[in-house]
Structure formats: C-alpha cells, structure tokens
C-alpha cells in the first residue's frame, strides 16, 4: 500500500467520524434549553440558605459540606510535590534553562508582578462572594512567580526551605481549624464563628479562613513544582 492511499483512507475515516459527531451534537443541542429542569441545584440552594448563607453556593459545597474531600485533594497535591522533589533534588549545580536576558522583559515583568499578586490575593479573599477560591488564586500567584523565573534568569531564586515551612504551617492551620470545629460543635470542620450579613466581606463563618489556608498552601506547592521543573543540572 502506498503512502497516498494511506493518507486518503485516513482522511476519509476522520471526516466520517467528524460528521457523525456533528450530527449527534446537533441532536443534543436542539433540545438543550427545553428539557432542562433544575433538581439537585435547588435542593443544595435550600440547604445553603438554611445553614451557612454564603453568596456563592459552590464555596459552601466545596469547603463546608464536602470539606473532608478538600483536605484529601490538598494531601494528594502535597504527595505529588514530594515525589517530584524526591526525584529531582539530588543534583548539585542547578541553573535555569531559560537563561536568556532581555531588558524589556525585565522591566515589564517588574511592573506586572504586583498586579498579578494582588489579583491572586483578591481571588483568594473574595472566594465566598465571587467565582474563584483557594486553588485558583494560588495558581495565579504561582504564575506570577513563573514570570519572574522566566524574566530574571539566575538572578531570582527562592529558598526551598522557606517554601516547605510555609506549606507545612498552612496545612497544619487547616487541620487545627477543623479540630477546633470538632471540639466546639461536635462536627469535623464545624462552624464556630458567627455568620455575618450575606454579601459582606467578613461573613460565612470559617469558610474564608479555610480558603486562605488552602490558597497559601497551593501557591507554595505550585511555585516549588515549577521551580523544580525549570532548573536542570548540565547547561551548555
């Protein structure tokens, strides 16, 4: 079989699959809006209005009703960073792969860095009022540090001991708040702080505290991961 016949058979099969997928999608989308009935969402909204009263109902599902799952996710992230550091730590001399200096990029990133960090802190702190929360704000802060690594080259480095200390302290704070809830209200991750007005910044009980701890932990972890991946032993 020659190459031209292979290419034509491949193209014909791919276009066949695409046409079948488009037909199925058209069939699904034509009655997308008519058959939509909210069932589980209205129940969750009713429970949320009775118990925690946050403005963003997804937040109370993630950190209050399913708070134990959030603890498990953070633990899995910690284990993955632990494995990466175990594999990549042993080299003596480590240099940045992207060691290519540019003055324009340095000045621009120096201007942009405070804006990105402030936006990440805004996303973390307003997690119970607007979309976002600990994970998203933490990765935004880590992307700000990634820009600094790319622009500054070898001039900008972060001590890994400080990162590990911050990460461990924030994880311990998460578990401490959960145990305080167990002590006061007989429920792991129970709410022991009075709930304020709906829509204010200081409201929602312990949910903003948990999100702040998760944000600090995730930002330290992702920064350590990118820092491990970007450096290598033998640079030409």
């Amino acid at each position: 079989m020659s190459i031209k016949q292979k290419i034509s058979i491949q193209t014909i099969s791919v276009s066949f699959v695409v046409s079948i997928m488009i037909i199925i999608l058209l069939g699904i989308l034509l009655n997308f809006t008519t058959q939509f009935q909210p069932t589980l969402g209205s129940d969750l909204l009713a429970i949320n209005a009775n118990s925690t009263e946050t403005a963003n109902a997804v937040t109370s599902v993630v950190t209050y009703f399913r708070g134990f799952d959030t603890l498990g996710e953070v633990t899995i992230l910690f284990l993955s960073i632990f494995g990466v550091s175990l594999g990549l730590e042993g080299f003596k001399e480590k240099l940045n792969i992207f060691s290519y200096q540019n003055t324009l990029l340095k000045i621009g990133v120096d201007t942009l860095f405070p804006i990105i960090i402030l936006f990440g802190i805004y996303v973390i702190v307003h997690g119970h009022l607007s979309p976002g929360g600990g994970f998203q704000g933490g990765v935004i802060i880590a992307s700000g540090f990634l820009l600094m690594f790319l622009a500054k080259g070898d001039d900008f480095s972060i001590n890994h001991k400080i990162l590990e200390l911050v990460e461990s302290l924030s994880g311990a704070g998460f578990i401490l708040i959960a145990l305080l809830g167990l002590l006061v209200t007989d429920r792991f991750l129970g709410n022991f702080i009075p709930i304020g007005e709906v829509g204010e910044l200081f409201s929602g009980g312990i949910i903003p505290l948990i999100y702040i701890f998760v944000g600090i932990k995730v930002s330290a972890e992702i920064t350590a991961l990118l820092e491990y991946f970007i450096r290598i032993k033998d640079v030409r």
């Binding site: 540019n102 324009l104 990029l105 621009g108 201007t111 942009l112 804006i115």
Partner: protein, 103 residues
C-alpha cells in the same frame, strides 16, 4: 450615553476583523505579527472603552483590564519577534539589518 458605547464597540470589532484578515493574508511570520498584534490591541482597547460607556459601574475592573492588555500585548509581540529573528534569521530583502549587532 449607550449609543456612544455601541459606536465604540463597533469600531473596535471592525479593527479586530481587519486584524484577523491581515493575519490570514500576509505572506510570512513577521508581517503576520505586524497585522495580528497592533490592530488587535487597538480593537480590544476600543471595546473596553465602549463597555465603560455602556455600563459605568464596572469602570474599575474594566480599566484595570485595559491597563493589563496595554502592557502585556506589545511586550509579548516584541519578545516573539526577537525569538523569530533569532530562529529564522533576516527575512526581508532590503538589506538593512538593525538587530545584527545586539543579539
């Protein structure tokens, strides 16, 4: 007030369409970059100004977004042009090479 905003948004989208036509029709990478980054920056800034005219209560976040686009888009196009020059060499036939000294 709202009609002024719609006129601004229409002008901005006109610039976006011109930019994408230039991106599709130009012959090589550097000229595509010339069409694709400058005109789209102007178009998105005009769209943001029109959105401020339509809905004045959102002015802070919209102006922050405009500031961010105004810094990042020329910066990224400059870095990309320099890396294209370093990878493919000089593409034009006029014989003037300004970047030859400072690689």
């Amino acid at each position: 007030m709202s009609s002024i905003g719609f006129i601004f948004i229409f002008l901005g989208i006109l610039f976006l369409i011109l930019s994408s036509i230039g991106l599709l029709r130009m012959p090589d990478t550097l000229t595509r970059m010339h069409a694709g980054t400058k005109a789209s920056t102007l178009g998105s800034l005009l769209v943001i100004v029109g959105a401020i005219f339509i809905e004045p209560t959102l002015w802070f976040k919209l102006s922050l977004l405009g500031f961010f686009l105004l810094i990042t888009n020329p910066l990224s196009s400059s870095i990309l042009a320099r890396s294209t020059y370093l990878k493919f060499g000089f593409l034009n036939k006029s014989g003037i090479d300004d970047l030859k000294d400072n690689k």
